[in-house]
Point group: C2
Chain length 249, copies 2
DNA sequence: ACAAAAGTGTTCCTTTTACACCCATGC
DNA sequence: GCATGGGTGTAAAAGGAACACTTTTGT
């Protein structure tokens, strides 16, 4: 159980991560159940004085999910004056999750820089809680429990940005295993965008981007024709991420 | 001349603003010439402990440009460990622009949250320098002088985001006077995207978004047919900003 | 009258949309 | 063999690209 080392952190700045995963046709986010308190929180933490902010975000994700090199996007700094609620901090101290001295520090004003990540649900075996939480859970985006501070707002913004980015960049990559079928990829889009897409048109358009490679394997098991397994063309995928898939002019 | 009040600011956090303006067919950014030092800086400052970050960014823009209610978008937190160069700070102290005690504080690690703004060049009469700078100037994006810290990198990122956003949202609004002609609007796109667009196709597509209202006025003066003046339809413009102009599905 | 540049229209071609049809797999 | 869902094809409509023509303004 790691403790806090508040003297070594960058002052007044925290990181919060919204980790998206797809469970069947449900979009879920990773949240932590706090100890002794009936509230939840986003995975996050503080920035070591000696580390880059982006590096620290990646570290936190690794600590919680075990995953490295994932799709991690900084998306917004939340900087309202009273965004970290003093009542929440006091609760922490009362429940002896943090010391009075630590509570003192955390009750000061904090701004938080938020990142979102999209991960392959299946690759995250057992998400690991941190010092302040008893367990970690995937929660459907539409069924969020009571969250501390402005974490609900952060998730809402993350989802909005995710939807926008999905229309611009082939994010599906990161939510799926290395090899996946066209219907699986389509499900990613339909779930996130909350919209039905014509099967055949989706297929054609997706293939036209020329970022997928058909393998000679198929996914058997369903009582129907076995769908072809695809993988992303790393090179072309990266290029598409830079330029974007659609543009006005 | 306002002084620094470092005891009242949020620690380790600064704001930097990239203000874009269009001068003819040149995209320019607003930069400040530092006193006694042969370097330039972005307009920016520190966050009062009692103010929201977004509010502070707007205040800085108002202080420098006199403009209120402008298009101001937070776009990235720069959080590398050594991004604020100690040598630059020392220079400040040596030149007595700031006190030794202030220099002490500023030499600590700072992360900066960046905003970009797009403004009507003509509306900014005389940009006002701050306590650290002797004057303020519009500089062509392609001819940037030596800038402190990572400000060059910040401008580069801002430009990249601006180009992306332009393809998504009708930003042109903010770079132009209330009433403008179709060729003027087209020039905004061509200048920012560095790309020629067919006059007639641009017109048709832009009108198809149904966010422009033709006035019954024209702009005279050119030795050619007087172009119609348009204005944005506030309502529909706002809606388009939310949904975006293009989408994959 | 002429140059310059704006407004309008047209043609061709590509993409999108909305389908019908066939194919493989498991029960 | 049949239900299920995947792969392929196609006709009609919409949208995009390229270009000709007309109109207005200042000199």
């Amino acid at each position: 159980m790691k403790a806090l080392h508040l003297e070594k952190i960058h002052p007044g700045l925290s990181i919060d991560c919204v980790v998206f995963g797809l469970h069947g046709d449900t979009l879920k986010v990773l949240i932590l159940k706090l100890k002794k308190i009936d509230k939840w929180a986003l995975p996050g933490g503080f920035v070591a004085a000696t580390e880059a902010v982006d590096t620290e975000a990646a570290r936190m994700l690794k600590d919680r999910t075990g995953l490295d090199h994932l799709f991690l996007q900084q998306f917004h700094l939340f900087g309202a004056v009273d965004r970290n609620k003093v009542s929440d901090i006091r609760n922490f101290v009362d429940q002896q999750i943090i010391s009075a001295a630590e509570g003192e520090v955390l009750a000061q004003r904090f701004v938080t820089i938020s990142y979102y990540a999209v991960v392959d649900y299946a690759k995250v075996q057992a998400p690991t809680p941190d010092y302040s939480s008893e367990f970690c859970e995937w929660c459907p985006l539409k069924e969020l429990p009571s969250l501390i501070h402005d974490h609900r707002e952060i998730i809402a913004k993350a989802y909005q940005v995710l939807k926008r980015d999905l229309n611009y960049q082939p994010i599906g990559y990161n939510l799926l295993p290395d090899k996946f079928t066209m219907p699986e990829l389509q499900a990613v889009y339909e779930t996130i965008l909350e919209k039905k897409i014509d099967r055949r048109n989706f297929r054609r358009k997706m293939l036209s981007f020329d970022i997928l490679i058909a393998t000679d394997e198929v996914r058997t098991g369903g009582s129907h024709k076995a769908p072809i397994l695809y993988k992303f063309d790393e090179q072309k995928y990266q290029a598409a991420m830079v330029g974007g898939l659609v543009s006005l002019w």
